[in-house]
């Protein structure tokens, strides 16, 4: 049975599936009930699973995550929705000091099977705080796992896998893609493991690493480069903590060049870690330093110039050129 779905639909179907499969799965957040979330990712869930399992919370992110910690201690598997990336910070303390550390603190006796869903990234013409990319901060925090989906089919599978994980997962959803492209979902296949990266386009001249919203950009860049006779390999990292670097090292050893792209600020973004690791592991294979294409090191600007702030096809190609010319 195969259907064409958007990312929003994939996530919605995945959530529904997880709730059907396990009565301990709960959804919590602002406006997740009747409204179905501001992006409609939880559309219809409260109607079908009731107010006890799809919980409209008071307007307080620390409260949402903090009560979810209690729910998890009681044996539930809460899936928390943060309405927009920029509003996760009031919950930051609960996430880094409680959610991330509970398993460690308790020597594994009190695991935190919690998923914190965050629509992230820019490009939707929004006002301040609605286009942030906070992943590096979470990936820097031991005890959290961090993943980012980039397409409808991954959305469907990854959300279920994240919910099934006994470790807390920060689940990043590229909001710009929610209602963009459709893809074919075949529910009968076995999905890749959650914490694995994936080569989404094979190539030989340079490796482009991306995740979430920039996967599409990277693929478009590869398409354009192909027209110029340059063959780019594109890897969708998918998991940001842990990183699945095996396929990345293999690729860079073949191509000798790597470009990492993400919307988050370059300074101390995921690209920094990936660059450091590639250099450590592939030192003698590198023909050029790993180059990084990301959001600039400014606060997210007014949306009319956000496409200048965000990495795009041209900036990725520019970095590829610089790498090739190095």
């Amino acid at each position: 049975m195969s259907t064409r779905i958007t990312l929003a639909k994939g996530l919605n179907m995945g959530l529904r599936k997880a709730m059907e499969d396990d009565p301990k799965v709960l959804v919590m957040g602002e406006d997740v009930g009747k409204l179905g979330g501001v992006f409609r990712i939880t559309d219809g869930l409260q109607k079908d699973f009731g107010e006890d399992r799809v919980i409209d919370s008071p307007l307080a992110e620390s409260g949402i995550v903090g009560t979810a910690v209690g729910m998890a201690l009681r044996g539930y598997r809460p899936v928390v929705e943060i309405q927009f990336d920029g509003f996760v910070y009031p919950a930051y303390d609960q996430i880094v000091c409680q959610v991330a550390k509970m398993t460690y603190r308790s020597k594994g006796r009190s695991p935190m099977p919690m998923v914190i869903r965050i629509p992230f990234g820019g490009g939707i013409g929004a006002v301040e705080h609605h286009s942030e990319s906070p992943e590096a901060q979470f990936a820097h925090t031991p005890g959290l796992k961090v993943v980012a989906c980039s397409n409808p089919v991954d959305g469907y599978w990854m959300i279920q896998q994240a919910i099934a994980s006994d470790d807390p997962v920060i689940f990043l959803e590229p909001k710009r893609q929610y209602h963009a492209d459709k893809a074919e979902l075949d529910e009968s296949v076995t999905p890749d493991p959650l914490f694995s990266s994936r080569i989404v386009r094979a190539g030989t001249d340079a490796t482009v690493l991306a995740y979430g919203p920039t996967v599409k950009t990277a693929l478009k860049a590869a398409e354009a480069a192909a027209g110029d006779g340059v063959s780019l390999e594109v890897i969708d990292l998918r998991t940001l903590s842990p990183l699945d670097m095996g396929p990345v090292y293999d690729s860079v050893r073949r191509t000798g060049r790597a470009v990492v792209t993400h919307e988050a600020h370059v300074n101390l973004g995921m690209g920094a870690e990936i660059s450091a690791r590639i250099t450590e592991e592939c030192f003698y294979s590198l023909e050029a330093p790993v180059l990084r294409v990301g959001g600039f090191d400014t606060p997210y600007p007014a949306s009319r110039i956000e496409e200048d702030f965000l990495p795009d096809l041209d900036r990725v190609l520019d970095a590829v050129d610089r790498s090739l010319d190095f």
Binding site: E30, A302, E306
Partner: protein
């Protein structure tokens, strides 16, 4: 034989305890909301907050509300036409905002949310300046110091703490409780019913109480936080929250500009006098959607809206003014012209708002630009030049 606390029902018991006053912490006062003007436009009296309003003042309120509504409908239309990315409508909240805005003195300071267009107007901020952030050309175009009106704050509740800190600064500046009406100052922190659940807002109550800061917490309870009804945030009337922190709370009819003005003014005066914070709950209703991207039909009944239309803040003042011969058709017609001019100003001005230059993205990250930012700016400038105007 087990003693039990369980015989206390909450609603009724608390009401008993709070006594008949709408002012928590006050032994006197009439039942229910503070109201000076009924939905039908009848002037009613109030033991604690009544005052006389001159004809000019009343017409002023009316004009303010009509123009504020025009700003709102014009901006909503601009959003529909693609000129704004989003707009946060205030429809229905005009009286709450004009009442609060007009109670201010020049030396007072305001910390708004993202919906205080009416208060901005009272402060003298050109409404065109409000459109920039909704259009996406800036994050706030006005200088807070020009009108003592802070920038819009989008992270819910954050500004309640800023307001409290600012008020603590006023205490240190010696502009509280001196008795000089041109000197004594206070701060208003605006926020919504939903915001009352944020830690920051409750911490602001704690700091304000602890330092007796001259701040008025002005909560527009418009009954909704996007799709969530007020009941999700509080099971008792919101103004009573103040009781738990040891300062007065008062619920005023937020669709009654006279009552809102009177109550806010009293609370501000209390603050200026050095008597500390007050929570004012302006009980009103969000007649529009949360923002232009919201679809309230998914979560609320149209009946509700119909019910509140009968309480329209502008209609009720107009009824009163007409009944008492304080406005006539000429006045209304002139005001219509003024509103049309304002509308024109907004439409033309909005479309003319220039897009920012890409390189302006690097401006003001710091007061002193770092070499790092300078390098990124230069790099991007060179990169842009490399396209020679032909960038895809």
């Amino acid at each position: 034989m087990e003693p039990s606390l369980s015989h206390h029902g909450f609603g009724p018991d608390l009401a008993e305890v709070f006594g008949p006053s709408q002012m928590a912490g006050s032994p006197s006062g009439a039942l229910g909301l503070v109201q000076l003007l009924t939905p039908e436009g009848e002037r009613v009296h109030h033991a604690e907050f009544d005052r006389d309003f001159g004809a000019e003042e009343l017409r002023g309120f009316y004009r303010d509300m009509v123009l504020t509504r025009r700003i709102d409908t014009e901006a909503t239309a601009l959003q529909r036409h693609g000129e704004l990315g989003i707009w946060a409508q205030l429809l229905g909240q005009e009286a709450a905002q004009i009442g609060a805005g007009r109670a201010l003195r020049p030396q007072d300071y305001v910390f708004p949310t993202y919906r205080e267009h009416g208060v901005a107007y009272c402060r003298g901020v050109d409404p065109l300046n409000l459109l920039g952030l909704f259009r996406g050309v800036d994050h706030g175009a006005w200088n807070p110091k020009d009108n003592n009106f802070g920038l819009y704050t989008i992270v819910i509740g954050a500004q309640a703490l800023h307001a409290t800190g600012y008020a603590m600064g006023m205490q240190r500046d010696g502009v509280v409780g001196t008795g000089d009406p041109d000197r004594d100052a206070a701060v208003v922190a605006h926020f919504g019913d939903g915001a009352s659940s944020q830690g920051d807002v409750n911490e602001a109550f704690i700091f304000a109480a602890s330092y007796n800061a001259p701040v008025v917490f002005f909560c527009q309870n418009n009954q909704w936080a996007i799709s969530e009804p007020i009941e999700r945030q509080s099971r008792i009337p919101l103004y009573q929250r103040a009781l738990g922190f040891g300062f007065p709370g008062v619920r005023v009819d937020g669709n009654d500009v006279l009552a809102t003005y009177a109550v806010t003014q009293a609370a501000l005066q209390r603050a200026r006098d050095g008597q500390g914070p007050t929570l004012v709950e302006a009980y009103t209703y969000r007649m529009g959607a949360h923002t232009t991207t919201d679809d309230p039909t998914r979560y609320r009944l149209s009946d509700d809206l119909e019910h509140w239309k009968l309480k329209d803040p502008i209609a009720r003042l107009e009824a009163y003014l007409r009944r008492n011969g304080l406005v006539d058709d000429d006045f209304v017609a002139e005001l219509k012209v003024e509103a049309d001019e304002l509308g024109h100003h907004l439409r033309e001005g909005c479309k003319a708002l220039p897009d920012p230059q890409p390189l302006s993205m690097f401006d003001h990250v710091y007061t002193e630009e770092t070499e790092e930012i300078a390098a990124q700016r230069e790099g991007y400038a060179r990169y842009l030049e490399s396209f020679e105007g032909s960038r895809s």
